[in-house]
């Protein structure tokens, strides 16, 4: 039966949340007026608070309703039908929640509610800020809830409701004309690439980062509005750290997901969707630096305003880019276009006009200092660092926006056919790499100057830079010389890469010396140094894992399709026949068949041991399923499959000179909508990752092409040759149970017992012949390793002779691509350090007593990408 109640509750709650946001923003606006503040009249503020709590409660109800629809498999709702399915485990139902645009908006709204409540209650010190800051919050919520409103006024559709019923969404589907109460039995499922644990935590993290950028923005706007031009920086600073830390971690989580799940061979692809978040992050980090410099030296206030406002507007721009469909051909994985582009543009435009207008209007009133910063002053270098960060962001922005220029020019009637650069990696790398060099050097220099005691002069600076500088040169030369001597698999000789390496090492040593100095003073101040080391390590990790990524699956078979291309063409994929080893770099690699994931068995199970049933999520064991001699299931047991659409290809790596040996299971998935999706399997070593994925496999959904049936007449004990393999026919035996078949009274089943001698091992085949309901039935057995299918055709009971049939097919194969990613772990370690540093900085900035303006801590950089 259709349950319309839950959808109605959800939809009504969205409307309540929307209206409450209007009330709250209006009341907070009224409460912020100077007149009201002066009289101490709290009535507007109390109304606004009440409205915001109503808004929050309504949002929780919406979240509950949407999750209920997914959790209870209410497929009468389009959202559940298009994002979930019956077999989805609970933790992936959480991912379904935000797979769609509406759900991800809801997630964003939810975080804003949470942050708003924290701000409202964060005690006395924010009292003067509550009304103007929360007015901004409620105003943002008004726009965001309107995105999921799903209300039609006249011809204008406002928002897209997640609570739309199937029959209202697909009004043309004939099934609803026949029966309006039709409920689909199953959903179409979650996009298989999103069925990954990172997809459970990456979106909430990223959206928390998105939501957190609103806080410094709201404080900056409140400061402008209320004429508190300098005071807003202090409460906004810990929130900026929070936003930048969370956003940074969220970005890297997304990168790690891509590394583990997609098969483009890396963690960063310069896709517009990735860039859209990277840009505001860079600008926000720049903003943190100017704010810190302002806290210490009273200069940089205007820059802080510009950068805080830009980072928020860039988040809105990112939302517009990824959700409006404007990217079109340019992105592989932006959201589906829901026709919200007008509304998204209004959201972006409203805040851009409001923020920029207010800033321009008050520009003259913002206090500035006439003080000239000396070159030996830390703050000076902090500003340069922020400028480099913003330039790096600007470069990505200019290129990523190319599809927008096309649309805009088309809109005003000029045809434009500009496309993103053909080689994006090269294009971005040539800037971002140098930005990385600049940032690494500046973190070192800036930090050393920032923490310098006493007189800031050339000589005292030279003193402090001496030790880290020498260590850097020593280490860098050591690495270069060792690599020349062949101590590492790669030779470090590219001058550009060496420059980045030296800069990053310098950043590590300079910041390390600062931590050592702070150790016996106040360690809690070293958050900046820790996160800067993190950034420097990330740069080193990126440099090696991308710049020295090494494809080991080179096709050296000498077989080439075309020889008309003399230049080096791509030979990065190798054909692996089943059970036929191939030499690859220092490994001997062989492919050993297809495996599936079975519930309650710790390892993947060979597909040949599983007899498929009508329900694809169930299979019957053909033999005992054991791992390390422990039997998990007995022959004939029914097994549950986690995800029958996933096939794991067993690939064994053996070191030729050495004992190292390991097995990888790269995955491929047949998906009715997206074709075949391959995901890598990664072997982690301390100093590198070995990354392997199948690039092509024979389509598992396609029927195999079996050769002609060859018949043999045998007696027990006979030896025959089957397609080059020696086989012995041992005899037959009656059996009581046939997997997948119910035998009734009078039914008979016998199986033949054959042994086939393969190249690597021997195989037993038991084709079954049965008489069920007076009909002859045959259950052939397939030996995929040998490409044979054996059918028990007939019994000649009088002469005790048996007829078997054999078909042969092409042997199974995979096309494999494998590469090494040196030092990729350094990137992840750097990310963790960066997050630790940010956390230390939040704690410390939050503890700062009122008026404690003397404060340290500088720069934060990041990122280059070389492949």
């Amino acid at each position: 039966m259709i349950n319309t109640l839950i959808g109605d509750i959800g939809h009504a709650s969205v409307i309540v949340a929307f209206v409450a946001a209007i009330v709250s923003s209006y009341a907070y606006f009224m409460a912020s007026r100077a007149k009201v503040e002066a009289t101490g009249d709290n009535s507007w503020r109390n109304l606004a608070r009440g409205a915001f709590y109503v808004h929050g409660a309504a949002v929780l109800l919406v979240v509950f309703a949407l999750f209920n629809i997914i959790y209870e498999h209410r497929y009468e709702y389009y959202y559940a039908w298009s994002h979930s399915s019956n077999h989805l485990p609970v933790y992936y139902m959480i991912s379904c929640f935000w797979e769609g645009q509406e759900g991800s908006f809801l997630l964003w709204i939810f975080w804003h509610v949470l942050l708003g409540v924290v701000l409202m209650n964060s005690g006395k010190k924010n009292k003067m800020w509550e009304a103007p800051v929360m007015a901004m919050f409620s105003f943002v919520q008004l726009f965001l809830t309107s995105m999921i409103l799903g209300v039609v006024i006249g011809d204008v559709k406002i928002g897209s409701s997640p609570f739309i019923l199937m029959r209202d969404f697909m009004t043309d589907a004939p099934v609803f004309a026949m029966d309006p109460n039709f409920v689909p039995q199953d959903g179409t499922g979650l996009n298989p690439l999103l069925q990954n644990y990172w997809m459970v935590i990456h979106p909430p993290t990223l959206f928390l980062g998105f939501a957190a950028t609103l806080v410094p923005f709201a404080f900056a706007m409140a400061g402008l509005w209320k004429g508190k031009f300098t005071e807003w920086v202090k409460p906004a600073l810990p929130w900026s750290h929070f936003a930048a830390g969370i956003l940074g971690v969220g970005i890297i989580m997304g990168a790690y997901w891509a590394y583990e799940t997609l098969n483009f061979g890396g963690y960063w692809n310069w896709d517009p969707v990735e860039n859209a978040v990277y840009i505001p992050w860079l600008v926000l980090v720049g903003a943190i630096h100017t704010m810190i410099a302002f806290r210490r030296g009273k200069s940089g206030l205007k820059a802080s305003y510009i950068l805080v406002i830009s980072s928020f507007l860039l988040i809105l721009y990112a939302t517009f880019l990824t959700r409006s469909g404007i990217l079109g051909n340019a992105s592989v994985h932006s959201f589906t276009d829901l026709g919200l582009s007008g509304q998204l543009f209004a959201y972006l435009a409203a805040f851009a006009v409001l923020a920029i207008g207010l800033l321009v209007y008050k520009w003259k009133s913002i206090p500035t200092t006439e003080k000239e910063l000396s070159t030996y002053n830390g703050e000076f270098w902090v500003f340069i660092g922020a400028a480099v960060l913003c330039l790096a962001g600007f470069q990505v922005l200019v290129t990523t926006s190319i599809p927008v220029y096309n649309s805009f020019l088309g809109f005003i009637g000029i045809e434009s056919n500009a496309a993103l650069p053909a080689d994006q990696i090269e294009h971005y790398t040539k800037f971002q790499l140098w930005a990385g060099v600049g940032i690494a050097l500046l973190t070192g220099i800036g930090q050393l100057l920032w923490w310098q005691k006493g007189e800031k002069t050339k000589s005292s600076f030279l003193d402090s830079i001496m030790l880290p500088g020498m260590l850097t040169l020593l280490f860098a030369s050591l690495i270069i010389v060792l690599s020349k001597l062949g101590a590492f698999p790669e030779t470090v000789d590219n001058p550009v890469y060496i420059t980045l390496l030296v800069a990053a090492l310098f950043a590590v040593f300079a910041n390390l010396s600062i931590i050592l100095n702070l150790l016996h003073k106040k360690v809690s101040l070293s958050g900046g140094a820790v996160s800067h080391i993190g950034i420097a390590l990330m740069l080193i990790g990126i440099l090696f894992s991308s710049g020295y990524s090494n494809i080991i699956s080179q096709n050296t078979s000498g077989m080439l399709y075309s020889r008309e291309f003399p230049e080096e063409i791509n030979r990065d994929n190798v054909l692996l026949w089943r059970n036929t080893p191939v030499e690859m770099d220092k490994y001997t690699v062989s492919y050993h068949g297809q495996y599936l994931e079975v519930k309650d068995v710790p390892e993947y199970v060979n597909r040949e041991l599983l007899f498929p049933t009508a329900d694809e999520y169930k299979a019957i064991a053909r033999a005992d399923i054991k791992v390390n001699d422990k039997v998990y299931f007995k022959t004939g047991d029914t097994l549950e499959l986690h995800s029958p659409e996933n096939t794991y290809y067993k690939v064994e790596y053996k070191e030729r000179e050495g004992d190292d040996q390991f097995t990888l299971y790269p995955r491929a998935q047949v998906n009715p909508n997206m074709g075949l999706l391959a995901s890598p399997d990664i072997k982690h070593f301390a100093d590198k990752d070995l990354y392997s994925h199948v690039s092509s496999v024979p389509d598992p959904s396609e029927e195999k092409d079996w050769g002609e049936l060859q018949e043999y007449e045998v007696a027990a004990g006979d030896t025959i040759i089957l397609n080059d393999y020696v086989a012995v026919f041992n005899g037959i035996e009656p059996i009581k149970e046939v997997p997948g078949v119910v035998l009734g009274e009078g039914d008979v089943a016998v199986q033949a017992d054959m042994k086939i001698y393969g190249e690597r091992k021997d195989y037993h085949a038991h084709p079954v012949l049965m008489i069920k309901d007076q009909m002859m039935g045959r259950l052939p057995e397939e030996i995929a390793d040998l490409g044979l299918r054996i059918t028990f055709l007939n019994i000649d009971t009088e002469n005790n002779r048996f007829k078997i049939g054999v078909n042969a097919t092409q042997k199974d194969y995979i096309i494999l691509k494998a590469m090494e990613k040196p030092l990729v772990n350094v990137l992840w370690i750097g990310t963790i350090l960066m997050a630790v540093g940010f956390t230390m900085a939040i704690v410390r900035r939050n503890q700062e007593g009122p008026g404690a303006a003397k404060a340290p801590r500088p720069k934060k950089p990041r990122k280059v990408q070389a492949a």
């Binding site: 051909n329 000239e372 500003f383 330039l391 650069p421 077989m559 990065d572 074709g675 391959a678």
Partner: protein, 141 residues
């Protein structure tokens, strides 16, 4: 001149440099005719071409070949661009798995030896993220 002014000028100069370089690196969407013209002029910059796969009357794809058993890194197909010009395309990589289902194909590359050598293929599948058909056979109450 104040130091801030000098820095400001440097930043503006760098920004202009960035914009110029982006304009220089930006590729364009062209037709095969134009791609061939460029190659004849000795221009080897890479371009984008949008097209559809060549299909026969029954909807089968024609002019496509991928035989991993011979060379896993060689895939060729025929693309018809928006001006209905046909061109053989070579891709030195395995065949993308959802290729056959694609509605529209965007390739990046240039003409070499009378074939278009693509180094990137972007597929637009009609139903990549939203499916519009309900399985009628699951109908029951």
């Amino acid at each position: 001149m104040k130091k801030t002014h000098i820095i400001g000028i440097i930043i503006i100069a760098l920004s202009i440099g960035i914009i110029m370089s982006s304009v220089g690196d930006a590729s364009t969407y062209v037709s095969f005719d134009e791609a061939i013209e460029r190659a004849e002029d000795g221009n080897t910059t890479k371009v984008h071409v949008v097209g559809r796969l060549k299909k026969d009357a029954k909807g089968h794809i024609v002019g496509m070949n991928y035989d991993p058993l011979v060379d896993p890194n060689y895939f060729t197909f025929t693309l018809v661009d928006t001006n209905r010009v046909e061109q053989q395309v070579v891709y030195f990589n395995p065949k993308p798995q959802d290729f056959d289902r694609s509605e529209q194909v965007v390739i990046t590359g240039n003409m070499q030896n009378n074939v278009f050598v693509a180094d990137k293929i972007l597929l637009k599948c009609p139903s990549k993220y939203v499916e519009k058909e309900i399985q009628q056979n699951t109908a029951s109450l």
